[in-house]
C-alpha cells in the first residue's frame, strides 16, 4: 500500500471552507463562506437568496387581505405577529379602531407565539451545542401551544388568524381553559429548562464572552429584539411604541449589558416568564365585543405612506406601505429583524474558533426565509 500523502496547510495560510447551504446548524438554506487560519475564524461571508421568493414584489400585485398570508411565510415562527403588523398598518391608515376583544386576543396570541418561538430556539440551540435532550423537551412543550393555535386559528404554524379589522373568527370556547392549563404547566416546566441547560458548565463555557457586541455597536447595526437587549439596548417596541393591548399590561423589559451569546440566550429565557405574566394578566378578562369590524369588501388605502413596527420574537419588524389609492399597494417593504441581524455576523465571529461560529449563529436565532423574503 502506498504511503498516505500529507496535505500541507501552512499555519499562515488562509483556508476557506463552505458552511451550508445544507448544514444543520444554519437552520435553513444559509451559506457561509468561512476563511480560517488554523481553527480561528478570519472572515465570514454570508451568501443568501436560496429561498428568495420576492414577497415584496408579489405584494404589489395582490390585495391587502392577501398580503397577510404572505407575511406568515417570512418569519414562520412569529407568523401571528407578522400578520398583526400588516393589519395594524392597514387599520391605522383607514382610521379603524378595533374592539378591545380583538386587541386582547391579539396580544395573548402574540405572546403565545413568542413563547413557542423561544421554545424552539431553546430546543435547537441546545442541539447545536450538543445537547440533544433539549430538542425533545422543547418540542414537547411547544406542541401544547400549537394545539391551542390549531383549535382557535385553524393553522398550527402558519396561522393567518388576523385580518384587517379584527380576527378571522371568534376564539374557540376552549381557548381560555387550554391557555391557563398551558401556563400552569409551563410555570413548572420552565425551571427544568434551566436545570437541563442554563446551569451546565460546558454550555456556559462555550457561550460566555463569545460573539460580544456592545451597546454602541448594537445601535449602529440596528440590532433589535433579544440580540439588542442582551447588549443593553432598550429597543422593545412593546414598551416604546405600544400597540394592541400592551399599554394596559405591566411587564419588564429584559436587559443585560454583557452582549455575549450566553446573555442573548438568557434574554429569551427570561422573556418566556414575562410573556406568561402578560398572558395571565389578560386571559381572565377578555372583554366581550365583536371579533371583527365591518370592512369594505375591497380595501383601498388612501394615497400616502404608512409605517408600522411590531416586536416579533426576533426583533423589530417594520412594515412600510406606499399606497397610490388602489386596492394593491404601490410598494411594500418589510424591515425584517433577521436580515439586519445577519449583517454583523462577520464582526461578531472574527477571531473566535470555528465551533464558536455555530454558537454565535445559534444565539442570533436566524430564520432564513425572513432574511430572504
Amino acid at each position: 500500500m502506498e504511503e498516505a500523502v500529507k496535505a500541507p496547510v501552512p499555519e499562515q495560510e488562509e483556508y476557506v471552507i463552505n458552511m451550508g447551504p445544507q448544514h444543520p446548524s444554519t437552520h435553513g438554506v444559509l451559506r457561509l463562506v468561512v476563511s480560517l487560519r488554523g481553527e480561528t475564524v478570519r472572515n465570514v461571508e454570508p451568501h443568501i437568496g436560496y429561498i428568495h421568493r420576492g414577497i415584496e414584489k408579489m405584494c404589489e400585485s395582490i390585495t391587502y387581505p392577501q398580503i397577510i398570508h404572505l407575511t406568515d411565510r417570512m418569519d414562520y415562527l412569529s407568523a401571528h405577529i407578522n400578520n398583526e403588523a400588516v393589519c395594524l398598518a392597514v387599520e391605522n391608515a383607514l382610521g379603524i379602531e378595533v374592539s378591545d376583544r380583538v386587541k386582547v386576543v391579539r396580544t395573548i396570541l402574540s405572546e403565545l407565539t413568542r413563547i413557542q418561538s423561544h421554545q424552539l430556539f431553546w430546543a435547537t440551540f441546545g442541539m447545536d451545542l450538543g445537547g440533544l435532550t433539549c430538542f425533545f423537551y422543547g418540542l414537547r412543550d411547544r406542541e401544547m401551544i400549537l394545539d391551542i393555535f390549531e383549535e382557535t386559528c385553524g393553522g398550527r404554524m402558519i396561522v393567518s388568524y388576523n385580518c384587517p379589522g379584527g380576527l378571522m373568527n371568534d376564539i374557540h370556547p376552549n381557548f381560555q381553559k387550554r391557555t391557563k392549563e398551558f401556563i400552569s404547566y409551563f410555570r413548572k416546566t420552565l425551571p427544568e429548562y434551566d436545570r437541563l441547560l442554563t446551569g451546565n458548565v460546558i454550555f456556559q463555557e462555550r457561550l460566555k464572552n463569545i460573539g460580544v457586541v456592545n451597546r454602541e455597536q448594537a445601535i449602529a447595526w440596528g440590532l433589535t429584539g433579544p440580540v439588542g437587549r442582551a447588549s443593553g439596548f432598550s429597543c422593545d417596541v412593546r414598551k416604546h411604541n405600544p400597540y394592541s393591548a400592551y399599554d394596559r399590561v405591566t411587564f419588564k423589559e429584559i436587559l443585560y449589558d454583557e452582549g455575549d451569546s450566553f446573555h442573548r440566550y438568557k434574554v429569551r429565557m427570561d422573556e418566556m416568564w414575562e410573556s406568561m405574566n402578560i398572558i395571565e394578566q389578560l386571559i381572565d378578562n377578555i372583554p366581550a365585543g365583536s371579533y371583527a369590524e365591518k370592512m369594505k369588501p375591497v380595501i383601498k388605502l388612501p394615497e400616502g405612506e404608512y409605517y408600522q413596527s411590531v416586536e416579533t420574537a426576533r426583533g423589530e419588524l417594520g412594515v412600510y406601505i406606499v399606497s397610490d389609492g388602489n386596492k394593491n399597494p404601490y410598494r411594500v417593504k418589510f424591515r425584517s429583524p433577521n436580515f439586519v441581524h445577519l449583517a454583523p455576523l462577520n464582526l461578531m465571529s472574527q477571531g473566535s474558533k470555528i465551533a464558536d461560529l455555530v454558537a454565535i449563529n445559534g444565539s442570533l436565532d436566524l430564520i432564513i426565509p425572513d432574511i430572504d423574503r
Partner: protein, 151 residues
C-alpha cells in the same frame, strides 16, 4: 420634542431640502448630492441624534428611482424619514451611508440587487439575493414571464 419643533430644527439643518410634517413622521425630501451631509448633521446634532438606521427602501416612482431612509433616535425616541430621488434610470447613483451607519451595508446591497441603484463609496456593492443575470425585479418595468399573478 414635539413634531413641529423637530420639523423646524430639521429645516435649519437641511436649508435646501423640503421638510414636511407627515402624518406619522417628519419627512425630508432632498437632492442626492446633499444626502450625506444632511444625514451626517442629523446624526450628530444632539437634539435630533438619529443614531439608528431602521431601514432603507428602494423605490421606483416611474420616471425616477429613489430611496427612503427611516432613521430613529434611541435617545429621544423619534423618527425622521429622508427621501431622495434620481432621474437617471440607466445609471442611478446615490451616496452610500455606510460611513454613518454600518447597518446601511446590507440594506443598500438589497436596494442595488432589486432596483439597480448604485451606491457611491459602498465598501462591497454586489448582488445580494439574485445572480448577475437577473434584471432588477422591483422596478415597475421589469417583465416577469413566469409570474401568474401579474395582470
Amino acid at each position: 420634542m414635539e413634531k413641529t419643533q423637530l420639523a423646524a430644527l430639521a429645516a435649519t439643518l437641511a436649508p435646501d431640502a423640503q421638510v414636511v410634517q407627515g402624518k406619522q413622521f417628519v419627512e425630508i425630501t432632498l437632492l442626492p448630492t446633499e444626502l450625506y451631509t444632511v444625514a451626517e448633521k442629523l446624526k450628530n446634532h444632539s437634539d435630533t441624534a438619529l443614531d439608528m438606521l431602521v431601514s432603507i427602501t428602494g423605490m421606483d416612482y416611474g420616471s425616477e428611482l429613489g430611496t427612503v431612509y427611516h432613521l430613529r433616535s434611541t435617545v429621544h425616541n423619534h423618527m425622521i424619514v429622508l427621501k431622495t430621488r434620481v432621474s437617471d434610470r440607466e445609471n442611478p447613483e446615490i451616496d452610500s451611508l455606510c460611513g454613518l451607519w454600518p447597518a446601511a451595508e446590507f440594506h443598500e446591497r438589497e436596494a442595488f440587487d432589486l432596483l439597480g441603484i448604485r451606491f457611491r463609496n459602498h465598501p462591497d456593492l454586489r448582488r445580494l439575493f439574485l445572480d448577475s443575470t437577473w434584471g432588477y425585479p422591483l422596478r415597475k418595468d421589469y417583465k416577469d414571464d413566469i409570474n401568474i399573478l401579474a395582470k
